[in-house]
Amino acid sequence: MTERKSPTAVLREGPRALSDEQVREIEEADLKGVLAVDIDDVIEYVHKDLKSLPDFTTLYRKYLKQRWDVYDLDFTQDKIDWTERMTEAERHSFLAIASGFHHGERQVEIELPVFMIGASEEEKLHIAAQIEDEARHTVFFDRFYREVVGLQGDDIMDILDASFPWVAETFVGPFGLLAYQADEVRRNPYDERARVRYGTTYFLWIEGVLALSVMKVTLSYARWRGFLPAYYTGFTATCRDESRHVQGGMKYLQDAVRKDPSMVNEIHETLRTILTLAGVASREVVYEPLGWTQDEVRMLFNQQLRRKLNDVGISLPPDLLAMVGSVQPVLAGG
């Protein structure tokens, strides 16, 4: 965190190229070094390879170099920031956003194994790595909620129970859908249409749009205020992990559509359901204490979705384009 940019500093800039040095800094930083990495650069890095997606073995090799130990993080300063420096309004807004990710990480961890059954051997390596990533992210949030927010419990589910009151009723939309689509895949693991529908919800919407938006909002706030260094470090490292997940997921969808162009209908139908649900909010989240407005978060959503679709080469019919404009900025992720 070498500079104090405002949270929305690059929101309107559009896509930008990263220098080789910036890419090297992101790819090779150890956990301590991640604190110095700019989250805006990592979000840009996620998109860097979407036009020429890396193969699954390359993604697996990146995983082996980039995995980090969640128990190396020290939340001592975060606890001080949380209790002594952040305002009540900041804490409230932060929890209203981060809790969707706390539960989202658990959901994407447990719903992924069934997708491995019907995958190619190389993709299985990547998915196995991703499951380990998601487990580590679940522990990251468990530690944050225990050691910083101060929730108490004997096990991971106790902490999930304790943070659930902050989760919006609309969370069941994308994450309930993923659970039911995972069950469809469980029953028919080689049904490519079911796998594409699942992949659209998991990789395109939850990881590609929701997760990156939560990361951008909470991490740009932490950078701006100079708060929560362990959260910034761990969640920025999480974002770097997500770059592999999003790239792998987009490669899967792109390959599926290239092999059978009619698969784009499965993507559209899945988005039709997701966008119907995303047009509704059950709670008002106040983003201003974190340096954002609702309109800016909505713009961020739209940018994230359009960039994924454009980069992977999937166009939307007019009715879906209209629905994208009505999306409510309700943040969750995984």
Binding site: Q107, F164, V167, E169, T170, F171, V172, G173, F175, G176, L177, A179, Y180, Q181, A182, D183, E184, R197, E269, T270, R272, T273, T276, L277, G279, V280, A281, S282, R283, E284, Q328
Partner: protein, 156 residues
């Protein structure tokens, strides 16, 4: 007053009344009007039916699972009854274990009942079903509040 037995005809009738009435003003408090507008819009146009199964109903009707069959139409419940095995024809057939039905009636959250796959779509189009998931989840929460006697099943 004795509570109707879980999955009894009296319980099904009480569930039908509660679903037709929908959430009270008190139950609507705390969620945005936009959310309830969506709920009301879905309810007004909903013409599907649910067969909500209890997979392992103890001493149930005949053998095998039993279903709470709910038919929607014209913005209300047009039928709500208990159906036995083989009679579960519905737009969406869902299944849940007895213990999870008990947990729902004990106050377990309806959203997590869906999210944690305690209740699952066994027949029907998942994408279409999910277009009304907020409506379904709220209804599941209402069903969980209808008093039911679970002990009666053991002596049937």
């Amino acid at each position: 007053m004795t509570e109707p037995g879980f999955f009894s005809p009296q319980w099904a009738a009480a569930v039908g009344d509660v679903l037709a009435a929908g959430p009270s003003e008190r139950e609507r408090d705390g969620k945005l009007p936009m959310y309830w507008d969506f709920f009301d819009k879905v309810k007004a146009g909903y013409a599907s039916s649910w067969a909500l199964g209890c997979r392992d109903l103890p001493a149930g009707i005949d053998t095998g699972p039993a279903y709470l069959h709910v038919q929607w139409g014209g913005g209300t419940v047009t039928g709500c009854h208990i159906a036995g095995p083989g009679e579960q024809r519905a737009t969406y057939v869902l299944g849940m274990d007895y213990a999870d039905w008990q947990a729902l009636h004990g106050g377990y959250d309806a959203q997590r009942t869906v999210m944690y796959r305690k209740i699952l779509v066994e027949e029907g189009n998942v994408l279409e079903f999910f277009k009304g998931i907020y409506f379904f989840t709220e209804c599941l929460g209402l069903i969980g509040k209808v008093p039911a006697d679970f002990t009666a099943l053991a002596v049937r």
